[in-house]
Amino acid sequence: MNAPQASVLDDLPGDLMMWVLILSELAVFGAGLLGFLAVRLTDPPGFAEAQAHLHRTGAGINTLVLVTSGWLAALALEAARAGRRTRLRALLAGAALLGGVFLFLKAQEYADLWAAGLSFDSHAFYTFHMLLTGFHAAHVLAGIVLLGLVGWLATPRAVEAGAAFWHMVDLVWVLLFPVVYLI
């Protein structure tokens, strides 16, 4: 039998499986954004017109909300390593609450689009907008559940995994926001 060999993977902070998930998510959202940009080349005016119906300000505020929430999650990991349970739970609750704010603002946009009769099939722009931000919102929701779970477990390892996932959600939004809402 072999002696267990040292692997570069051992130097990875946090859980290997979480990194596999994060890389997979980034690959999927990246492919989605590339698809979006490619299809936009076929109809720039149509995409610009459709984009004007989105809540740009709301999305901008949401960016600040998510980044702040990510900061709270990072502080929670510090608290977890320091063994301060109450503080880490309070910080995670704050992070999750901001996640809720994000979803609330996002829902406003969806509701307005819906009221204007704009949906998946109205234009290729909306197909991508709703797929990308919809998948992302689903991850925010999953992230809130995950933050609750790791807050309940309250071990540094669990909080690290939860925070890593939450930062990924954060990162994806920071990529989606300029591409889908601004340019």
């Binding site: 072999n2 499986m17 998930l21 997979s24 989605g32 099939d121």
Partner: protein, 454 residues
């Protein structure tokens, strides 16, 4: 063989190989019908022959999986199978059910009967009584192996294997969901067909491959397990929403084109990981296991699965491509190499590994077995190339130029003739394999100095 109940696997493997012979023979008949379309048209219509070809494939692969589970679970869990009697009962139900399907189809009995007649849906056309039998047999199987695992040692290999087998059985329940709306019918149909071969079966494949690597290469269990979890995660991540690549043109909303294209593109990842896993384990492993044929089949499985399922799948998975290539011989090329690489080779690998133990014939006959690998694999790969070329031409003539289907078929004759030739090689390879694992008792090649193997 350390545990008496591992013997159960022998019966499953033998029945599986018998159906394997039926499957490839049927394939040869169908290959000839492509060349001479009226061959047997009165006795054995093409659709019935095709049903026998695909269904005997699926049933023998499943029986192989069951056999593999009965073989490896006692070793992994370190105890005897919970109830051998139930395992025999399960096999009997499967054999009777399979015979029932064949007889019902060949003679078109009870046509339209709710309980006894065939249901006419590709792959899940079994009469309803057979479907109920399959569910009962699956429950018996899951109960039997779950009880064994729960009472014994739990390893990553048994965890992933059980996850795959439970998922496989639960998804089969959608065979009972048959809406009148054809789009919905197809939607649920893919819950079985796709989520089997591109979801749960991949878990079964990864865990059996992991077991073989553990035994054949002697790499640490810890290393094997890490790979196994990553592969399983990649398979589920890409495979579940990858179902969308079947929803392009069946009447489901347009967003499936993007969900399907993006997620199914990543389905190549778990297959690439499995191929890397197999080769890295062999390079890292220090054990020189005498069963070289099992190693050959394992590596061949991982490699051909990557090309057949991964690369050939990706070729036509993007909806912009599939718009033209859908339902042409490209699909047939992919289907043949993917099933062969991923699941046929996997079963033949575990059979090649297990049979010498089960028959008490170590050391093994390997040369014939390895010849059968090259003959069969060469045949299937050649077949894949001929069908890929046929499909490319067909796509252009039929979908781009708009020529009639049958006019195009006439022009593909040369490729179908070459495909028949490769089919002959596959059948000879299959017969040789069955002969090599069951009949000869003496070792043919000398084995080099090696460490003792498990």
């Amino acid at each position: 063989m350390k545990y008496q109940t591992q013997k159960i696997a022998l019966a499953y493997f033998v029945v599986a190989m018998a159906l394997f012979a039926v499957q490839v023979t049927m394939g040869l008949v169908l290959g000839w019908i492509y060349i001479s379309p009226n061959f047997l048209s009165e006795i054995l219509p093409f659709n019935v022959g095709r049903m026998l070809h695909t269904n005997s494939l699926i049933v023998w692969l499943l029986l192989g999986f069951f056999g593999a589970a009965y073989y490896l679970i006692p070793e992994e869990a370190e105890r005897e199978i919970h109830s051998p009697k139930l395992a025999w009962l399960q096999l009997a139900i499967f054999v009777i059910g399979t015979a029932g399907v064949v007889v019902t189809y060949l003679f078109n009995l009870f046509d339209g009967n709710w309980l006894l007649g065939n249901e006419g849906r590709e792959f899940i056309e079994q009469p309803r009584w057979v479907k109920v039998g399959i569910v009962v047999a699956a429950l018996i199987f899951l109960y039997n192996i779950s009880m064994t695992v729960l009472a014994g040692r739990k390893t990553a290999i048994t965890n992933i294997l059980l996850l795959g087998l439970w998922g496989l059985a639960l998804l089969f329940l959608f065979a009972f969901v048959n809406p009148d709306n054809l789009a919905l019918d197809k939607m649920y149909w893919w819950y079985i067909v796709h989520l089997w071969v591109e979801g749960t079966w991949e878990l079964v494949m990864a865990s059996i491959l992991a077991f073989l690597m553990l035994k054949l290469t002697g790499v640490d269990r810890e290393v094997v397990e890490k790979w196994l979890y990553v592969i399983a995660a990649l398979a589920l991540f890409s495979g579940i929403l990858g179902t969308g690549h079947h929803y392009y043109w069946i009447g489901t909303p347009g967003y499936w084109q993007w969900i399907g294209s993006i997620f199914s593109s990543f389905e190549v990842a778990p297959f690439f990981a499995m191929m890397s896993f197999a080769f890295v384990m062999v390079w890292k492993g220090r054990r020189d296991h005498p069963n070289k044929a099992a190693l050959l089949w394992s590596l061949g499985c991982a490699t051909l699965a990557f090309f057949g399922a991964g690369v050939w799948g990706f070729l036509h998975t993007l909806h912009g491509v599939n718009y033209y290539s859908h339902g042409t011989q490209i699909t047939a090329a992919h289907g043949h190499l993917a099933f062969y690489g991923a699941y046929v080779c996997l079963n033949l690998a575990i059979i090649t590994y297990a049979l010498p133990h089960l028959l008490g014939r170590d050391p093994y006959n390997q040369v014939l077995n390895m010849v059968s690998f090259w003959l069969m694999s060469g045949g299937v790969v050649f077949m894949t190339f001929t069908l890929t070329f046929a499909g490319t031409i067909q796509t252009h003539l039929q979908r781009v130029n708009g020529e009639g289907y049958m006019d195009v078929q006439d022009q593909l004759w040369l490729f179908y003739a070459m495909r028949f030739g490769s089919g002959v090689a596959v059948v000879l390879g299959a017969v040789l394999f069955i002969y090599a694992v069951l009949v000869p008792r003496r070792e043919i090649i000398e084995r080099g100095a090696s460490q003792p193997a498990e």
